[in-house]
């Protein structure tokens, strides 16, 4: 469908022309970009601060010195380590002696000499509500395990901003009978190894720049009230986020996911023999549900970043600019929080 529009645009543009216009007076002065994403997910939380450079004309980067940051949790000042002037002139600090808890009210501020002071606040959300989940194998091929996952949760209030991803864990055990080449003595060899299918945590969206749409995108933003989450292949790599704030009444606090996880080996035990050489290999696939509860600001930011990568009409000013969000007063970036919980592992094969 977009191709239809693009053809129309191209045809009309054939008789049009482009013209430069001066944006130097509109891009404004340098601002301060900051991100601080407290969660219960990590022992320390990074605080990034960087001066932005107005993009007009021949642009030299605005480099800074002497930045200061401050974080208050429930009114108490936290100690931050300033570890290095990191890549690309970005100040990177991190917390050392505090583990964020649900309910913590966080205020973050940053000052850059010559530019100013910015600040934002957020509240670490309660953990994902109590839930039950089930998973079924709907299809199994030599390379793909397709699961249907059913999550039912008990949202106590007016809804929330949530995310979910299914993590796959593969345990491989191999045993084989072999003989010592020097003595000829037979013995059993054994190898055990495990692989965890990694997904990019949502905070990658905040901390890593230049992630493009496609397989490396950490999240998929789902429509509100939509009970069926993504069934995109490789979706196990993405955290699927959704909002059920202001959802229809009565609320349906169920979500269904279809997960297609790659597997290199068939589950179960495979025996093999080749004359005197024989053994077996056994694969066990285990699954774990990872559930997020985001603050409103962080959810909005993640969704905006997702739309930013996926709406080229907006980039031309031909569609609403849904890809902009910041809650940093006087600057840009985000101060948002999330809480993550992990289910028990379940074994399906």
């Amino acid at each position: 469908m977009r191709r239809v529009l693009m053809i129309i645009l191209v045809l009309t543009a054939m008789c049009g022309c482009e013209r430069s216009f001066d944006i130097s007076k509109q891009v404004g002065d340098s601002t301060i970009w900051m991100t601080f994403i407290p969660s219960n997910d990590y022992d320390s939380t990074f605080f990034f601060v960087q001066a932005t450079t107005p993009l007009a004309g021949k642009t030299n980067p605005v480099l800074t010195n002497g930045e200061s940051v401050g974080v208050r949790v429930n009114g108490q000042l936290l100690t931050l380590e300033k570890n290095r002037r990191s890549f690309a002139d970005r100040l990177q600090c991190y917390t050392t002696d505090y583990s964020f808890m649900p309910g913590d009210v966080v205020e973050a501020s940053a000052t850059v000499p010559g530019i100013g002071t910015v600040g934002a606040s957020c509240k670490v959300p309660e953990p994902f509500p109590s839930f039950t989940w089930k998973a079924w194998v709907v299809e199994k091929t030599s390379s793909i395990n397709s699961l249907f996952v059913d999550i039912e949760y008990d949202d106590p209030g007016d809804g929330g901003y949530y995310g979910a991803v299914v993590c796959q864990y593969i345990e491989e055990t191999s045993q084989w009978e072999d003989s010592d080449p020097e003595t000829g003595e037979k013995y059993w060899g054994e190898i055990k190894r495990s692989t965890r299918t990694e997904y990019l945590p949502p905070r990658a969206m905040t901390e890593i720049d230049g992630l493009s749409a496609g397989s490396e995108e950490p999240i998929t933003a789902m429509p509100k009230y939509h009970n069926y989450l993504s069934n995109v292949p490789d979706s196990q790599r993405r955290v699927q986020i959704w909002s059920d704030v202001s959802s229809p009444s009565p609320k349906d606090d169920r979500r269904h996911m279809t997960i297609a996880s790659r597997c290199n080996e068939q589950p179960g035990r495979i025996d093999y023999t080749d004359g005197t050489y024989h053994g077996w290999t056994e694969h066990h696939y285990k699954y774990q549900l990872v559930l997020y509860h985001f603050s409103e600001s962080y959810y909005n930011y993640l969704k905006a970043r997702y739309n930013s990568d996926n709406n080229d009409f907006s980039a031309l000013g031909l569609a609403p600019a849904s890809f902009v969000y910041t809650n940093v007063q006087g600057g840009t970036g985000v101060c948002g929080a999330y809480t993550v919980i992990y289910s028990d592992w379940i074994e399906l094969f």
């Binding site: 993009l55 642009t59 959802s247 009409f313 600019a321 849904s322």
Partner: protein
């Protein structure tokens, strides 16, 4: 005094007081009546106003005329955008003889659907809405078409650069029954077909072939029957439609970069159809009970359709196997509306003029979408996707209103009214009262002061994913999750009748809007159908400003100057935690138009339009990522874009000059022929349609893309 005059008119059996539009009145008379009305923000356009102003492609156009008014933003150039007092564009009530019109544009917004040949008059409200109107937040465009002549046959034929028009009227039963019809159709398809064939011939070597066919038409038919000197029956029919078909065929070949051998070859085909339009029908019975009481009872039907369909096919021949893939997608939005309404006009006492009425409107909304994708790999057929989604919403909208135009003191008039609207949809009911108050005080013979306060609700939402004026939007109702839009507006003004045919109006307004919606999803041409409520974000808007209009007129010349200073802002928590400027936040708008009649045979027109540029969102700041060294030794710094807020960049200012002239000749047989020559955008200002910030030779510059050059046109009109 005015009310008495109106009632006297009713006594003639015409019941004209129910129609706010005068028949072919002079501009000055219209203006006088506009000032004398209690409401603020009212502009009354006669058929003559529409036909004497500048006409794009020499075709007079209602919406293009309204776009020139102060307080109205036009959005993207040449499109039929009508953003009134910071409105959303989907919040204007278009009534054609009482029937609602949803699709108001032809030719991707170049023309509106109202044929000026059959229009009697237009009442345009941007504030001070009387209680008899409702259902939209920002403006009312009430278009009435003419009754046919009861005694003479006559008509108009016009041929322009891209369209032709025919209007004809006369008696069916002399003195009793008359008819009028108007037909308009583009004939640009007869130009574009050979032009595209020529281009395809030029491109035939590389196997690339485009096709395109576009046509629009509209048909108006009106029959008026005078049952008696107290009863008039009117039947009005309208059908307007646009169809755009585009095709794209190309051979595709992938080559081995080292050997040059063809690795893959295929054939790519796209066939797309866009269609949109409206059909309306209205039957009214006007009855005059007495000199003091008249009524109009009407049954109105409207059907509005927008449809986008495309089929994309791809054939490939790889390794001796024929492969074929096909995608068929269809999107459709249909709205049926049927309304039964009764309006009464009653003057019980000398100082009171009461209007009251009720209506019941039944809406059916039909959004549909389907997608079918399949592949044929050799002899195997694999279905990739096959789904369809559709919803059927029914909405009932009963409403009642009453308004009283009362003379409180000599020189002090009030129009106090209330409209009570109820909207019932899927078990949910919204009952919302809408108070309307307007005051007028004639401080002297020269100066009139007015003020008004109105509250409006809108139960239907135009949902679109892009700003392009294509039929890619859905009209959907308020539901249990999507609340009615809501606005409050206060306006006040000073209106001065100056000597020598001059007038000066100064009006200010303050407006707030709640529960307005913007698309907030990834790129899509068409909104989702099955989960549309989730794809839109709710927000608020506000607009305020001042409008100054100065006019001068004598027997031969007229000039109008209008200036608007306004602000339009939005607050959508999902986009930003602070208020930001609306896309159509044109801080300054300035228009000057002038006409001069040198003789009965020659007249000229000139108009200059200026407004501050529209706004768009640009990543105008960068997070420094690193530096590379170019081959010439210079440094190039690269950045990741940072968006400081929505609509943070103002595009270049918009301005253009339009010129026109009419050569008029009355032939010996009494027929009048007119040659019109018009130049749109006379100094070829390539105003911005879309823009971006790009890196050009190591510099970040704004790049605006203009599509509309100078357009000289002509038309021939024969009145017979």
């Amino acid at each position: 005094m005015l009310a008495i005059a109106v009632v006297c008119s009713a006594a003639t059996g015409q019941a004209q007081e129910l129609r706010d539009t005068l028949t072919a009145a002079r501009v000055s008379a219209d203006r006088l009546r506009t000032v004398m009305r209690t409401q603020t923000g009212l502009t009354r356009l006669s058929a003559e106003d529409l036909n004497t102003g500048f006409a794009v492609f020499s075709t007079p156009d209602l919406i293009k005329t309204l776009q020139l008014l102060p307080g109205v933003a036009s959005g993207t150039e040449l499109m039929s955008g009508l953003f009134v007092h910071g409105g959303t564009g989907g919040d204007n009530l278009f009534l054609l003889d009482g029937s609602s019109i949803y699709n108001t544009s032809h030719l991707i917004g170049l023309f509106s659907a109202f044929n000026a040949d059959v229009v009697d008059g237009v009442d345009f409200y941007k504030s001070g809405f009387p209680a008899r109107y409702g259902g939209r937040l920002s403006s009312v465009v009430d278009v009435t078409t003419r009754d046919g002549d009861l005694y003479e046959y006559h008509g108009t034929f016009s041929l322009g650069l891209i369209d032709g028009r025919l209007q004809y009227e006369g008696p069916l039963v002399r003195g009793k029954t008359s008819f009028q019809f108007g037909l308009r159709r583009t004939w640009m398809d007869t130009i574009t077909i050979p032009a595209i064939a020529f281009v395809n011939h030029q491109n035939s070597a590389d196997g690339h072939k485009n096709s395109g066919h576009y046509a629009f038409w509209d048909l108006n038919l009106g029959i008026t029957h005078h049952l008696s000197n107290r009863d008039v029956l009117r039947l009005r029919l309208f059908n307007g439609m646009d169809r755009l078909r585009i095709g794209d065929d190309q051979l595709v070949k992938d080559y081995d970069t080292t050997t040059g051998a063809v690795l893959h070859s295929g054939f790519d085909n796209l066939d797309g159809l866009l269609a949109w339009g409206s059909t309306t029908a209205g039957f009214t019975w006007n009855h005059t009970f007495s000199d003091r009481l008249a009524s109009r009872v009407g049954l109105y039907y409207s059907f509005n359709l927008s449809k986008v369909k495309y089929v994309a096919r791809f054939w490939s021949w790889d390794e001796g196997m024929d492969n074929y893939s096909c995608t068929e997608e269809s999107d459709l939005s249909g709205i049926h509306g049927i309304r039964l309404g009764a309006d009464f006009d009653w003057e019980p006492f000398l100082r009171h003029h009461i209007r009251f009425g009720a209506s019941l409107e039944h809406h059916i909304y039909l959004p549909e979408r389907s997608l079918h994708q399949w592949m044929e790999l050799g002899k195997t057929t694999e279905e990739v996707s096959n789904w369809s989604a559709g919803n059927r919403y029914r909405g009932e909208e009963p409403s009642v209103y009453i308004e009283d135009e009362m003379t409180l003191l000599p020189g002090l008039t009030a129009n106090v009214g209330v409209r009570a609207a109820l909207f019932l949809v899927k078990g949910k009911a919204y009952a919302l009262p809408e108070p309307r108050v307007a005051l007028r005080y004639d401080a002297s013979d020269v100066v009139t002061l007015k003020t008004s306060y109105t509250l409006m609700n809108q139960f239907e939402h135009r949902l679109q994913t892009t700003y392009v004026d294509l039929p890619s939007y859905l009209w959907l109702p308020t539901t249990s999750d999507i609340r009615p839009m809501h606005s409050r507006q206060a306006a006040a003004g000073v209106y001065m009748r100056l000597p020598h045919g001059m007038h000066l109006d100064v009006e200010g307004f303050w407006k707030t809007m709640e529960h307005i919606y913007e698309y907030s999803g990834p790129a899509a041409l068409y909104p989702p159908v099955d989960r549309w409520e989730s794809a839109f974000s709710e927000g608020r808007g506000r607009a305020y400003g001042a409008e100054v209009a100065f006019g001068w007129e004598n027997d031969k010349s007229a000039a109008d100057v209008a200036y608007t200073l306004s602000w339009a802002e939005r607050f959508f928590p999902e986009f930003s935690d602070r208020w930001y400027r609306d896309r159509n936040d044109n801080r300054h708008k300035f228009n000057i138009t002038a006409t001069h009649k040198f003789s009965e045979r020659f007249e000229i027109y000139g108009g200059w339009v200026y407004h501050s540029g529209n706004r768009m969102t640009v990543g105008s700041q960068g997070k420094y990522q690193g530096t590379t060294v170019r081959s010439d030794g210079s440094f190039f710094h690269y950045y990741n874009r940072v968006y400081t807020g929505p609509n943070n960049i103002k595009l270049p200012d918009y301005h253009r000059l339009d010129l026109g002239m009419n050569f008029i000749k009355q032939r010996s047989d009494g027929k009048i022929r007119t040659w019109n020559f018009s130049i749109y955008n006379a100094y070829c200002r390539m105003n911005t349609v879309y823009a971006d910030v790009e890196i050009d030779d190591g510099e970040y510059v704004g790049k605006s893309y203009g599509l509309i050059p100078i357009i000289p046109t002509f038309s021939y009109t024969l009145k017979f």
